[in-house]
């Protein structure tokens, strides 16, 4: 079963290209201190705003810090924020989706009304509102994004639960006297996992874009921490003399998000045989 899944995944071009990009980004994040040519925080004013090439492959920023090094460390920040935000959203969203779908009735109605209210916001606006209140820093960005993205998991899990709970094996579990918790976590959740994994993969890309957007607006990860969004925002001030400061961080964001999107699309195709993409 596992080898069949892997075989199908490896035959999916989108998943392979996306997977390779994601692995490269993860390796950069994990091995940042080993592979980075310089320290990301040490200022070196004589070397400020040096163009790409020479000893600084992608050039230096306004404080003479190596841009490539800051982008490698930025991968760590983006992935960290993305993974924790998506993890939080998934935890809350899946839990509420399971409860809403399994118990139905008023529990379902109340949870879904909450979902409706959250969905009434453009996502980035709600994230901005949370960060505005909590204060701009890395921890609060993770919290804010987690609180914004949980709704999509609730909706998907709820609809999965609604169909799974009508299956015969669930009826059988109920008649054997299994507890609700056992039924939900042992029988329903494993069968609802595939769409959750796909959503989480696609969600990582969205979370990385949101984090970089908040950091770009000055509402996310704060300097001197190396973040792609804030590096790009500071680079904008030198757009005439040092355009590379605005180009490379954006490229890093785009490639990483592209990687997660391609991998997510590939996983969706592989896990859902009905969804043969045209």
């Amino acid at each position: 079963m596992k080898s069949l899944f892997l075989k199908r995944l490896l035959n999916n071009k989108s998943a392979v290209i996306g997977g390779v990009i994601v692995i490269i980004v993860i390796m950069c994040a994990l091995l940042a201190p080993v592979i980075s040519p310089y320290d990301p925080y040490t200022m070196n004013m004589p070397d400020r705003l040096q163009g790409p090439g020479g000893s600084h492959l992608l050039g230096t920023d306004q404080f003479g810090r190596d841009l490539l090094t800051r982008l490698i460390y930025g991968a760590k920040v983006s992935l960290q924020v993305g993974v924790i935000a998506v993890g939080l959203a998934m935890f809350v969203g899946v839990f509420l989706g399971l409860i809403a779908g399994y118990y139905g009735g008023w529990t379902d109605k109340i949870i879904m009304r909450f979902v409706d209210i959250f969905l009434a916001f453009p996502i980035i606006l709600l994230a901005i509102a949370f960060v505005a209140a909590l204060g701009p820093n890395t921890r609060n960005v993770m919290l804010a994004l987690g609180m914004v993205y949980w709704t999509s998991y609730t909706r998907v899990v709820r609809s999965s639960v609604l169909s799974i709970k009508e299956e015969e094996y669930i009826m059988a579990a109920i008649t054997t006297g299994a507890s609700d918790i056992r039924i939900i976590f042992t029988y329903i959740l494993p069968n609802a996992l595939a769409p959750i994994i796909v959503m989480a993969t696609l969600g990582l890309g969205t979370a990385i874009i949101s984090e970089s957007t908040l950091s770009f607006l000055g509402l996310g990860v704060q300097p001197p921490t190396a973040s792609w969004g804030s590096t790009l925002a500071f680079g904008l001030k030198f757009i005439r003399d040092a355009p590379y400061l605005s180009i490379f961080p954006g490229l890093a964001i785009m490639l990483t998000v592209l990687g997660f999107n391609l991998l997510g699309n590939g996983l969706r195709d592989v896990t859902d045989p009905k969804l043969t993409r045209k």
Binding site: A120, F121, M254
Partner: protein, 326 residues
């Protein structure tokens, strides 16, 4: 249908109420005393007391909430601390700029997405299809602020064709001048300032819409009535435009409507990149100035606009879909 529309309008009331309550409580998540947060460490106790009274923080939180909702029903969102004027006035002054940006972005999205989506579907699995879907995939993966930065780099910095920030007179004002005096200069200057921010948002929107048009067109092209039209010997162009595209439009209306909401959200970021004086930029600036009444009012207003847009899309869907019209 009238009953459906009426019910749908009724449904928006709890959503708007929910938006207000949620934003109200989010703004109360400010750690510590919001008055102190707004004024900083050096504030005198008198100043803090004054701000607490203005914000009503000296009252019970539920009393504050009911009072806020009651005032909001009378279109009173409180006063901006920093700008020293009613929040509604600030919103009224900045919202037209946001709408102008979002509408132009939507038009640009459609100009790019409709031909791209149709050609991709008609020439499925050809190089045209692969190229346009690669464009769509890249468009979805690009942060909207970076698209803006790249456009500034090319059209402002390198070519020097277009200004990189600010807004001229509104397009409507430009048209008025054109009609009354015959001079197109004002309109042209406004369009020059509008085109880059609108294009950066429009590119993002076109990526989503073109994918949607492609997939619905593929479904329609595979349907029996298209096959029948072809079997009757109808010219291919007519089959595509009259039979397929018109039917593919229905789900597209929904996505275009929702996309308008996304463009409203995206405009918050684009406005900051291009110093466009819309409501999004006002909110971001208000956050840095810790002007919480303005942030609260602005967020509630934008979210309500988003909810009303979704309502209009739902109603429009029923109006144009003959299957569910009755």
């Amino acid at each position: 249908m009238v009953k459906y529309v009426f019910n749908r309008i009724l449904q928006i009331i709890p959503v708007v109420l929910g938006i207000t309550v949620l934003v109200f409580f989010i703004m109360r998540m400010i750690p510590g005393d919001p008055a102190m947060v707004m004024l900083g460490q050096d504030a005198t106790p008198e100043d803090i007391a004054r701000i607490r009274a203005i914000l009503g923080l000296d009252r019970n939180i539920f009393v504050q909430l009911f009072s806020y909702i009651k005032n909001m029903l009378m279109l009173d969102f409180g006063n901006s601390i920093f700008l020293r004027q009613p929040v509604l006035e600030v919103i009224k002054a900045s919202f037209p700029a946001t709408i102008e940006l979002a509408v132009t972005a939507l038009i640009i999205s459609l100009i790019i997405a409709v031909p791209l989506g149709i050609i991709s579907a008609v020439k499925q699995n050809s190089w045209v299809d692969y190229t346009s879907m690669a464009f769509a995939q890249l468009g979805i993966s690009m942060p909207v602020f970076w698209t803006g930065v790249l456009l500034i780099l090319l059209f402002s910095v390198k070519l020097g064709w277009l200004p990189s920030f600010g807004r001229g007179e509104s397009i409507i004002e430009g048209l008025k001048v054109l009609v009354t005096t015959g001079s197109g200069e004002v309109l042209l200057a406004s369009l020059k300032k509008l085109i880059l921010p609108a294009a950066s948002l429009g590119i993002m929107g076109s990526a989503m819409i073109s994918r949607m048009i492609r997939s619905t067109m593929l479904e329609v092209l595979d349907s029996d009535y298209v096959r029948t039209a072809r079997a009757k010997g109808t010219v291919e162009r007519k089959v595509i435009m009259k039979h397929a595209f018109r039917n593919a439009l229905l789900p597209v209306v929904t996505i275009v409507g929702l996309q308008f909401g996304t463009l409203l959200g995206g405009s918050i970021i684009t406005e900051s990149v291009f110093a466009w004086p819309g409501i999004g930029r006002i909110i971001v600036t208000a956050i840095s100035q810790r002007d919480f009444p303005l942030v609260q009012g602005g967020v509630i207003f934008l979210a309500t606009t988003f909810a009303v847009m979704n309502l209009l899309v739902d109603v429009l869907y029923v109006v144009i879909n003959p299957k569910i019209r009755h």
